[in-house]
């Protein structure tokens, strides 16, 4: 290859590289150092589920730690199989969620990419994402012998009713009492309001970042979103998250203005459903990009701003009850399908890519119906990939490769018509 071509390719790549990434890595490193040195600094650590109500923790200076984010890191660093196998040796069935399996065994060996999570002083389990977290947190509460608070958000099959509102709202108070007892301190209500405002601001900002992909070409892809998601999960309610996403938003807007796309010659715009396949994000993103296909949006990363409409930044504690209950995974399959259809319109999507994820039953059972509804209502084709987010043993490369090729072929045919 002549030298100038190599150079050109390098600049071409550089152009597409998101600059904020560096800062993001710094923030996350700092966050984990902070968490791992919590005891030395007299700070308490709470493990909390990804959809859990984190804001009161932040307001009380308790460091929230997310086993699911850790699970994603384990998956991305391809350490999932080893840890899952360890859990299986402990007696856990291989069909259980691979985040849970990885975390349960990791706690006993302090393994994984960062040598294990800092020990929890308490556990906060929000079951708005699944019933798995309930069982998982019970296990960890027994293992670490620490108190467990369950934030029980009734499932909204067809609606959110008055008695649900009362139940969840009273748990907000119980939760605060629990934290006050665990820390021996009172919650500072002013601080709480401030954190609530920052949380809503952060979520809005994250939504704005995701919305930049309505541009053609999309300045970022779902694969980028998978990466940048970490802050809205772990640092929701902090100024850090708001500032970071502001910076990212500016960068994306800039790119959109300059017509820089995440995929060089974006021709097909796709929508991803379910969790990422963490150990294959790079492979998948390259596979799609090679066919000029960009995954412009996904149902997963938008879950952290999907219930903004129920949140009131000026009345956070009251509104978070509803906001945390009506999240994407805690609603009926038909409502999920409607929301996927809306995304198809919003991002002007040509096809749907569904990850049927063995780990996650609440996310995956019902996908076939969503697929059918979206195909019918929106007239777009779809691709179904059978895999698992962390357990590589469930990933069949050749089979998936063939399916992607066939899917792209179909998109091409349609384009020609």
């Amino acid at each position: 290859m002549p030298e100038n071509t190599v150079d050109a390719e390098k600049t071409e790549k550089d152009k597409r590289k998101i600059k904020a990434i560096k800062k993001m890595k710094e923030i996350m490193t700092f966050y984990y150092i902070d968490a791992k040195t919590a005891t030395e600094n007299n700070k308490k650590v709470a493990w909390i589920t990804s959809g859990g109500p984190v804001e009161p923790l932040i307001a009380m200076d308790i460091i929230p730690v997310y086993p699911e984010n850790h699970g994603a890191m384990i998956g991305a660093s391809k350490m999932g199989v080893d840890l899952c196998e360890k859990a299986e040796a402990m007696g856990y069935a291989s069909d259980l969620c691979s985040y849970a399996r990885s975390d349960i065994s990791c706690a006993t060996v302090n393994g994984g990419p960062i040598g294990g999570l800092p020990k929890p002083d308490m556990l906060i389990c929000g079951n708005n994402i699944c019933g798995t977290v309930l069982k998982w947190y019970e296990i960890q509460a027994r293992y670490f012998n620490v108190p467990l608070f369950i934030f029980d958000t009734p499932f909204c099959h067809t609606g959110y009713y008055e008695e649900m509102r009362r139940y969840v709202r009273s748990q907000v108070d119980e939760y605060i009492e629990f934290l006050e007892k665990a820390t021996g301190r009172k919650l500072d209500r002013d601080r709480m309001e401030e954190v609530g405002r920052l949380s809503v601001a952060g979520q809005r900002m994250w939504q704005a970042v995701l919305d930049t992909t309505v541009n053609k070409p999309a300045p970022m892809s779902a694969f980028d979103a998978f990466f940048h998601l970490a802050l809205i999960v772990t640092l929701r309610g902090t100024q850090t998250a708001v500032d970071y996403y502001q910076e990212l938003l500016d960068e994306m807007n800039e790119r959109a203005k300059d017509g820089i796309g995440a995929v060089p010659n974006e021709r097909y715009r796709l929508l991803w459903d379910n969790l990422p396949i963490w150990y294959r994000t790079k492979w998948l993103s390259e596979k799609f990009a090679a066919h000029d296909a960009c995954l412009v949006a996904d149902t997963y990363t938008s879950a952290w701003c999907g219930s903004l409409r129920y949140m009131d930044e000026n009345d956070f504690l009251n509104s978070m009850a509803e906001g945390y209950t009506r999240i994407y995974l805690n609603i009926g399959v038909d409502e999920m399908a409607r929301s996927v259809c809306d995304m198809v319109d919003k991002y002007d999507v040509d096809g749907l890519v569904i990850h049927s994820n063995r780990s996650c039953k609440p996310y995956s059972l019902g996908q076939y119906d969503i697929q059918r509804i979206v195909e019918e209502k929106k007239g777009i084709p779809s691709l179904l990939i059978e895999a698992d987010m962390c357990d590589e043993r469930m990933f069949s490369e050749s089979q998936i490769e063939t399916r992607i090729e066939a899917f792209i072929e179909m998109l091409k045919q349609r384009n020609r018509r």
């Binding site: 019933g131 467990l148 119906d369």
Partner: protein, 372 residues
């Protein structure tokens, strides 16, 4: 006794045929349900007949278009029957909230099985706080109103009390049968016992109560020859595989008590009769032995199991789980550990409908029983 059991076995063999017949004969509305957290008393008080679904005995074809293969065979089987019309005689379905899979089954049923009404009872997941107690009561009130609307009736306190009395009587009788058999396992085969429990969830409750009473009477009068069987306990979700008991018995064991939702979890704890009926029904749900999809403490399931093993002098425990059942699979290591610490050996069987080859199971049971 043989005749009584034959009547029940017939019901269990084809529950849908029974439900259809009942409807034609009596004109009663029939309401299907999938889990022991369905408030049967309220359905009965509405003048309707509660009928539990247990999956399918046939092959799964239609449900494959809606549910992945990593969903448990119970959920897949129930949807299969709904889709192919096996349940078309039902006037409606009730879905209490329990595990993630049932949760989605409710959605898929509502979206795809159009005949009959559909009601969710979104119960609390945690059961050990004041606010959860209040919410449980509220949900049951909503459930009552939903049923009144769907069945076009009004559910009176008087009818609720009557239904509570009937269900309490059934629970007492079932418990008595379990106790008698636990004292003398030779009185009845495990298969017969499970037929009785299952039939109870399917057949007309008044008729069922009569039969149970007679069965108790016969059992109390009978004396079984002393047997040398090894006493076992079984634990899990639903027991849909009565053949397992024949295999266990052939290997020299007998299941003398269980922690199944097609077993003791169905009849443990009675509804109080001295307070508001809905409150009383709610309180029973909070008090009874929990299903692992619900939370009532961190160690109560192990404590219950150990207490049960001691009380019933069981020498070993067989865990019978459906494959892909998350709540039970998560609890297994901790329950096993707790048993190990008490010196109670256990065996784990993960099954799917249909069961694996008999020989294979037979060998495992024999090996396990030899060990204890």
């Amino acid at each position: 006794m043989q005749d009584l059991l034959r009547e029940m076995a017939e019901v269990v063999r084809d529950p849908f045929a029974y439900g259809r017949q009942l409807k034609t004969d009596t004109g009663t509305k029939v309401v299907g349900y999938v889990c022991t957290y369905a408030p049967e008393e309220i359905i009965l008080a509405a003048g309707a007949h509660p009928l539990r679904l247990f999956g399918t005995t046939g092959t799964i074809e239609r449900a494959d278009a809606h549910l992945q293969s990593y969903c448990c065979s119970l959920v897949r089987g129930v949807l299969e029957e709904g889709l192919k019309g096996g349940t078309d005689f039902l006037d409606g379905m009730v879905f209490p909230h329990t595990c993630d899979s049932i949760q989605r089954l409710s959605d898929l049923w509502r979206m795809n099985v159009t005949q009959g009404f559909h009601v969710d009872a979104v119960l609390p997941v945690k059961l050990d706080t004041q606010s959860a107690r209040q919410y449980m009561i509220d949900v049951l009130h909503r459930f009552k109103t939903d049923l009144e609307r769907e069945l076009d009736c009004s559910i009176t306190d008087e009818n609720l009390s009557k239904a509570i009395g009937l269900m309490n009587e059934i629970r007492r009788l079932l418990r008595r049968i379990y106790e008698l058999r636990s004292h003398q396992p030779g009185l009845m085969t495990g298969d017969a016992l499970y037929t009785i429990v299952k039939a109870t969830m399917i057949m007309d409750r008044v008729r069922c109560c009569e039969i149970l009473r007679e069965v108790v009477g016969k059992m109390e009068a009978a004396k079984s020859p002393h047997t040398n069987t090894k006493r076992l306990l079984m634990a899990g979700g639903i027991c849909n595989q009565p053949q397992i008991h024949d295999l266990i018995e052939a290997a020299g064991g007998a299941v003398v008590w269980d922690d199944f939702c097609t077993g003791s979890r169905y009849f443990e704890a009675l509804v109080s009769t001295d307070k508001n009926p809905i409150t009383a029904i709610a309180e029973r749900f909070l008090r009874r032995a929990v299903c692992p999809a619900k939370h009532a403490g961190l160690r109560n399931r192990a404590e219950d199991l150990i207490r049960m093993a001691k009380e019933r002098e069981a020498k070993g425990v067989i865990f019978l789980y459906l494959k892909f059942c998350d709540p039970h699979a998560f609890d297994y290591p901790y329950l096993k550990d707790a048993l190990d610490q008490e010196g109670v050996p256990s065996l784990l069987l993960e099954v799917e409908d249909p069961l694996p080859a008999e020989g294979q199971l037979q060998t495992r049971f024999e090996a396990f029983l030899e060990m204890i």
